[in-house]
Every structure is written in structure tokens, then in C-alpha cells.
Amino acid sequence: MNWGTKMADNDMDLNQLFAQARQTRPELPDDLAVRILTDAEEVRLDRLKPAAPPRSIWARILDGLGGWQSMGGLVAASAAGVWIGLSAPGFLPDPATIIYPQETSFVVADLGLDTTFLEDAE
């Protein structure tokens, strides 16, 4: 083909090349079709998997706290705290005197008792 001729001829030649290109469009090779359909099957099966059942609010809170194991430790520590509060062992100071030491002095003074033993102690 001669591209040096008139513009209209060139246009015609270009159209011929386009026509040739349309006729030689590649067919889908079998191995590519298999690759594509394998992808489709993976996506399809993945979508068909049953969704995980919705979790209750308590299960999610438990997860947030670290599961049953850490929950056991948390319960034991809380129970120990309550027990120490209610009946402190002998070697520990009375929690009441730690929390309300001044009020205790007031109570004793108000009763008009001898409080010198308290001053001596200080």
C-alpha cells in the first residue's frame, strides 16, 4: 500500500488496516478461560460460605476483657478485695482507722474520755 498518495486514499488504507485488525482479534485461549473461571469459582464459593453467627453483647464484652481466663483472675481479685474489706486478717490494720482516723479521735474526745493515750501514741 502506498501512503504517499492522496489523503482520501490514506484514510481508505487506514480503514483497511482497521478491518484487518478486526478480523485478527485474538480468541480467548482455553488456559486463560480456565484461569478466569477458577477465579470466578473461588469468589463464588467464598461468598457462599455461611456467615459467622452474630455474637451477643456479653460475649463481646468478655472478649474485650480478655476472655474467660482473665475473667477468672478478675473475679478472684474482686472476691479477695471484698473479703479483706469485710474481715481483715489480724496482721493488717483496721481499714476503718485508715479511712477515718480523725473521726475516730473526735468520737473518743466527744465522749469525754481520757485521750492522753492517743497523744502518747503520736
Binding site: A21, L37, A40
Partner: protein, 203 residues
């Protein structure tokens, strides 16, 4: 409204009188119909491959782009809104974008792709001439700017109407017409220039 209660393959007669739209097939696939995937692959994958081949001029890359574009179609299926756009329009756009990505990655190293001439064999120029003679159009297309190449391929090889090309490329129909006209002018100029270099003979 199409009846989508049965798989499409059961309703297709030998004459092909009942044919489902790409939209309907994509919905069937999203619902779990594997046969719909086969039909969509038969219809759409060859178009991806054809465009990618012309855009990239490389078979292996074009096949990878086709697989990648189809993968995106499968993943997108549940989110597809029927009637909003044509499935093929969406897929052409994805294909072109993937081609552009590959071309961008290759561009800095493109000089390395040209083989060095070896003693006693065809020179690089001879080899290029040989390749170009085999597909003069491909060689010329490769020199077009991306957008012009896209528009020319979609119009003259895929034979899509300009409004659809406009939808694929995200520009106006007038812009598409302009891109095609400029692209064809450049192609003709390249052909004229190459005629002497490549030693074309009449006929």
C-alpha cells in the same frame, strides 16, 4: 422485566432467542450461579483481551490484564447496580486502567526492552522493520498518546459507538470525536513517514 427465577442456561433455546443481558448474568453470578460466570467469560473476556493486546502489544501482559479485569468483575458482582451502566462499559474502563498502570510501570525501562543487535544476525532496525511489517498498525498505534490510542482502538477495532466510548473514557462525545480524529491523523502521518523507512511496496 426479565424472569430471573431460573438459571439462564435453562431458558436459552438452541436459536438463542432468549438471551440474558450482562446485567442479569452478573446478578445470577452474585447469587451463586456458576454457569453465569461461564457465559460472562465467553462474552466479555475476548473483548478485554482484544483491547489489552492492542493497548500493550504484548500477549502475556494482555492475558494477565484480562484475568485481572475479570477478577474485579467477579468481586464487584454483589455491588453492581443494574441499569446504571453497561457491564461491558465498566469492564472496558477497568481494562484500560490496568493497561495504563502496566505502561506507566514499564516506561522508565522501555529502552531496555529493545534487544541489542548481535553480530551475524539481523540488526535491531531489521528486526523492528520485520515486526512492523507484520503488524504495521500495531507499530503505529504504539506511538499514539494513551488517550488517542484508547479512543481509536475502541472505535475502529472494537467498533463501539462514540457515546459508549465517552462513557468508558469519562469524557464527552465531542472529546471522543476529537481524540479519534487526531489519533487517525497521527496514524496516517506515521504511516507515511514509515513507508520509506520500512520499504513498503504497493499492494
Amino acid at each position: 422485566m426479565e424472569d430471573l427465577t431460573s438459571p439462564p442456561h435453562e431458558l436459552r433455546g438452541a436459536s438463542g432467542a432468549v438471551e440474558y443481558s450482562d446485567d442479569a448474568l452478573l446478578r445470577q453470578f452474585a447469587k451463586g450461579d456458576a454457569v453465569a460466570a461461564r457465559e460472562l467469560t465467553d462474552r466479555l473476556a475476548p473483548r478485554c483481551l482484544s483491547v489489552a493486546m492492542r493497548m500493550l502489544g504484548n500477549r502475556a501482559e494482555a492475558e494477565d490484564v484480562t484475568q485481572d479485569a475479570m477478577m474485579r468483575l467477579w468481586q464487584m458482582a454483589p455491588n453492581w447496580v443494574p441499569g446504571q451502566a453497561k457491564v461491558s462499559t465498566w469492564l472496558y474502563r477497568v481494562t484500560l486502567n490496568l493497561c495504563v498502570d502496566i505502561q506507566r510501570k514499564k516506561r522508565p525501562d522501555s529502552l531496555d526492552d529493545v534487544p541489542e543487535p548481535e553480530d551475524g544476525e539481523l540488526s535491531a532496525v531489521d528486526r523492528l522493520q520485520d515486526a512492523a511489517r507484520k503488524d504495521a498498525l500495531q507499530a503505529a498505534l504504539a506511538q499514539l498518546p494513551d488517550r488517542q490510542r484508547q479512543a481509536v482502538i475502541l472505535r475502529h477495532i472494537e467498533e463501539l459507538p462514540n457515546p459508549e466510548i465517552a462513557g468508558i473514557m469519562g469524557v464527552s462525545t465531542e472529546a471522543v470525536e476529537s481524540l479519534i480524529a487526531r489519533g487517525k491523523r497521527v496514524l496516517m502521518a506515521i504511516m507515511v513517514e514509515r513507508q520509506d523507512e520500512l520499504g513498503y511496496e504497493d499492494g
